[in-house]
Amino acid sequence: MDPKTLKYSPTHEWVALAGDVATVGISRFAVDQLTDLIVIDLPKVGARLTAGKSFGEIESVKAVSDLYAPVSGEVVEVNAAISGDVQLLAADPYEKGWLVKVNVGPNPDLSGLLDHDAYVKKTAEEHDH
C-alpha cells in the first residue's frame, strides 16, 4: 500500500478501502513509537468491529496498547502471519504487516478518519509535545 493513499485514525490505524472490504493496519509511526514488539492479539474471522472500539491488542516490552477499529464491520480475513511473527509487522506495516480485512458494506462512514497529510501533521505535533 502507498501510505499516501490511506486513511488514518487518530489512534494510528490505517484503512485501505476496496469496494466493500477495508484492509486495516497500523502506521509506521505507531510501530516506531511502540518498538520491541512481542505479540499481537487479533480477532477471529466473523468478529464484528465497531469503529472507535478496541478489537485487539499489541504488546511491546514497554507496554500493551489497544488496537482501535477505524471502521465498523465484520472481519473476513486475519493476517495469521503476523500473529506468528509480529516482527513482520515491525518490518513492513503497510504490506505484509496488515492486520485484518473487514467487510464494511456499502457507503461506509470514513468521516472520522484523516488523510495522509493531516495524519502526518498530527504525528509531528505528537512527536514534539
Partner: protein, 372 residues
Amino acid sequence: MTADSAFLETPLHAWHKARGGRLVEFGGWLMPVQYTTIVEEHRAVRERVGLFDVSHMGRLTFDGPGVLDWLDRATTNSVASLVDLKIQYSLLANDQGGVIDDILVYRQPFAYIVVCNASNRAAAVAHLESAQRDSEGTMVDRTRDTAMIAVQGPRALETLAPLFDQPLDKISYYHFAMGRLLGRANAVVSRTGYTGEDGFEAVVGAHAAVDVWEALMESGRKFDIVPCGLGARDTLRLEAAMPLHGHELSETINPFEAGVGWAVKLEKGDFIGRPALQALAQNPGRKRVGLVLDTKRIARQGADVLLDGRSIGTVSSGTFSPTLDQSIAMAFIERDAPAAGALEVDVRGRREPARLVKLPFYKRPRPPVSAG
C-alpha cells in the same frame, strides 16, 4: 530545569536529547527510556558494553565523628562491618519493618556515601535526618552537583580502564576507588551495577559529565558501545532478578519476603525497624519467586498468580526476556504453596500457564575478574 519542565534534568540531558533519546518522566526526572530499541540496548550490555546515565539516583555524603552510629541506626545492614573502599547493599526500614528504600553505602576513609533511588530520595533523606538524633555529623545531598554514569557489560573494564588513573582491574565487585577520569575529573569509581553483567559506576562532578560520557563513547567505539536507557536497565535487572523498589520492595513489603533478609543484621544492635524485623524474620509471610510463562504475553505488576484456579499471589515485575526469548516475571506467592498443581497467571483476563523457576533468570557466564 528548563522553564517548561517540572522535572529535573541530569547534566547529560542535552546529550540525550540531541542523540534521539526518548525522554520520559521517572522518579521526578526526565530520563531517556531508550535511544534505539530496548532489545538492542539490552543485547549490547549482555554481549559488549553499554553506557547509562544514572544521575537521577540520589547521592548523599556523610562525615563527622558520629556518622557510624548515625548510619547504623538508620540502616539494616552492619555499617560497622564495612572496611574502607568497600560498598554494602542495605535498606532503610520503617517502624513496621517495611522498606523505605534500598541503598548502597560506600565507606571512604572517615566518611560515607549513600546512593539511593531517585523516586525515594526525599523519603530517604527524611529518614536519614530523623535517624541522626545526637550523633555528630553532616549529611550533604550531592545529587544535583554530581553525575553518575554506569558502564556495563563484558567490555566495560576495557572501555573504562584507559580513562582512569587508578588500576581499574584491581577493584573487586562491590568495591570502589577514588581517582581522576581524563586526567582531571575527580571520580569515585565502583564495581557495581544493575544489569547482572560486570561493570562500573562513576560519580563525577556535574560539569565533567558530558566530557566523561563522550570519552567513554569514544573509548568503547571499538566494542560497539551504545548509550542505553531505563528500558534496557529494567529488562537487564529483571533477568538478573535484582529487586526494584516499588515492585519487589516497598513500605509494605518486608525484606524477608523480598529475599533480601541477608541485608538485615538483627544482631548488630538497635536500629530503626529492628523490633518489627525481629518478628518478621520468624514469620516473613510470602516469598519472592521467578515465573516463566508459556505465552509471549507479559505478566505485569499486579497480575494474579493462580494454583489450580486459586489465587496464591501477585506479580511484582514482568517483562519479555531478550536473552531467554521468553516472558518472565517475579511474583510474591504464599510461602507454603504446594509445589504440585497447575500454575497460571491471569494476564488481563486470560489465564496463561506458567512454571516456577529458580532466580535469577540469567547469570553471566563467568564472574568478573577479581583481584582483591
